[in-house]
């Protein structure tokens, strides 16, 4: 069986700086996988490589066996990788419902002309989109706020909305960039449950970057530790976190 995501010696250098250098990992379908490392280790850069924001200067990556190296962000999203952002990026002036509906655009289509002239396809598709979006919001406990502007949501719910929007694009792999950043312990706890729930209900494969060790050790089955762009350790979460090299990278000598 092919892995859901496989990267082979993936890397990028900006001038002389090797931001990510030879990242190889394998994520099986349905796995919750963590990518951790100190600040500046290249975690977000790795995400940007996987979503086509940057083109890798070395190595390849494969989604479900299909080579995606060199594709742009839009193509990669259509192939099945969706992401959230470290600093939340919502469509602030759109309603919560519309944020999710934008995510649904990949699957639900009608032409611009059909929209302008309000042909039957418009009403039919919009109705289906509304239903589907409301279902997703229900899962994230956001259905009550569907008419709010996204910018008016509290922080924790904005994070959830971002995940809902990413899921709306019906991805095979979900990338979460520091989902617990700026959350208090209660919110983090709730988020952990949400992430697990998403994995179970949508049968999703999830790769996440996180600093919060409680969250990482709580939900990730396997992790990769990056330091200065290179892989420091890889494997089962419990074992890796006890690795003296990893402890050294985080806490110093």
């Amino acid at each position: 069986m092919t892995a859901m995501l496989e990267t082979k010696n993936l890397g990028i250098s900006f001038g002389g700086l090797k931001a990510v250098d030879g990242l190889s990992l394998k994520i099986e379908k349905g796995q919750l996988y963590g990518l951790i490392g100190p600040n500046g280790a290249g975690k977000t850069t790795a995400f940007n490589l996987l979503t086509g924001v940057y083109k890798p200067t070395m190595g390849n990556f494969f989604l479900d066996g299909e080579k995606l190296t060199g594709h742009n962000t839009i193509e990669i999203n259509k192939k099945g990788i969706a992401r959230t952002f470290q600093n939340i990026r919502l469509f602030n002036q759109l309603s919560v419902l519309d944020n999710v509906k934008v995510g649904l655009h990949n699957d639900y289509k009608y032409s611009t002309a059909q929209g302008i002239f309000r042909l039957p396809a418009f009403f039919r598709t919009e109705k289906e989109m509304d239903r589907k979006a409301e279902e997703l919001l229900e899962v994230f406990d956001l259905a009550g706020e569907k008419d709010y502007l996204a910018s008016n949501l509290p922080y924790g719910k904005q994070r959830k909305l971002e995940i809902a929007r990413a899921l709306a694009t019906s991805p095979k792999l979900l990338l979460l960039d520091e989902p617990a950043a700026g959350m208090n312990p209660n919110e983090t706890q709730e988020l952990m449950e949400t992430i697990r729930f998403v994995r179970d209900t949508f049968d999703m494969t999830i790769l996440l970057i996180e600093h919060d060790m409680r969250l990482v050790s709580g939900i990730c089955e396997e992790i990769t530790v990056l330091n200065f762009g290179t892989v420091l350790a890889q494997g089962e979460t419990g074992k890796v976190l006890k690795d003296p090299e990893v402890v050294k990278a985080y806490l110093g000598d």
């Binding site: 992401r83 602030n92 509906k101 934008v102 990949n106 418009f122 008419d147 929007r165 990413a166």
Partner: protein, 368 residues
Amino acid sequence: MKNLNNMKKTTKQDMITYAIVLVMFLFCVVYTTTGLASNLFRGLLVPICVNVILAVSLNLTVGILGELSLGHAGFMCVGAFVGSVFSMAVQEAIPSVWIRFPLAFIVGGLAAAVIGLLVGIPVLRLRGDYLAIVTLAFGEIIKNIVNNLYLATDINGVHFAVGVEAYNNTVFDAATKKVYINGAMGITQTPNDSNYFVGFVLIFITLIVILNLVRSRTGRAIMAIRDNRIAAESVGINITKHKLIAFVISAFFAGVAGVLYGHNLSSLVATKFDYNYSIMILVFVVLGGIGSMRGSIIAAVILTALPELLRGLSDYRMLMYAIILIVMMLVNNNETMHMYVQKWFGGLNIKKWLGSAESKKKAKEGVS
């Protein structure tokens, strides 16, 4: 009534916008047919319609797409000249104004849309200030090209020249010569087909197309790009395509407004479509509220009528105009001011009253 309450909030808002335009139209009909209207008022109606269409279409670029365009008058210029030349050319072939005039709108609008597409492809790669500067330049380029354009026909066919020397060197068959565009003199015998009735029909068409666009899949994608380009890309939205759709539709309606403008007065010169005109349209959009179509309509009406209404002040006219602009801007964007207005007029509850009055009227007319 119950049906109305079940409507989506945005649909309700759009209905109010349509209703406001309908009220304005009915007012104009009553006022002009009863003979109460002065010549000044009659003369203002078509320019108001032109400016409303311009403001609403520019709002699509500025408010919905979120890109500052300073070349809107350039697209209007293309529409005005192409539409007028078309009307003059087919005047004999299609004597019926009912067929000729709508065709002129389509031809003029499409010409502006094509120019919009050609300008948009390179320009929409830029963002923010850079885009504003380049659209400004394109507007001026269009104006200057048209200002040096000569177009005439004779028995030998169509003669086309850029620059006065080239035109003077062209040999014409004097007996059959017919001049369409005479350089800086522009077009001198455009058919005067425009009236406020056509103007209002066009306002309605513009509003329906643009509001329906905004509330559709494409419009949602355009607004998503405006709010966060990187996030829009990450959910698979094609940035270039959607930006171009918004820009081209905006240019199309600028062209339509140009055709209406060109058929209003019998002479048409390119210098009218300068930088100042573009800025004036932008002022309508900004004062009416960026992204608010209703605001654009109201601002365009008030600010077009205002300089004429202030004529009595003679020398102080533009001073007053400027002061009113500043006051409008301050009042529009001031929370404290909103609070005071609420306090003074809150008891009247104007908004609620307006809303219910309009919905009653609509229910009566069977518009839903």
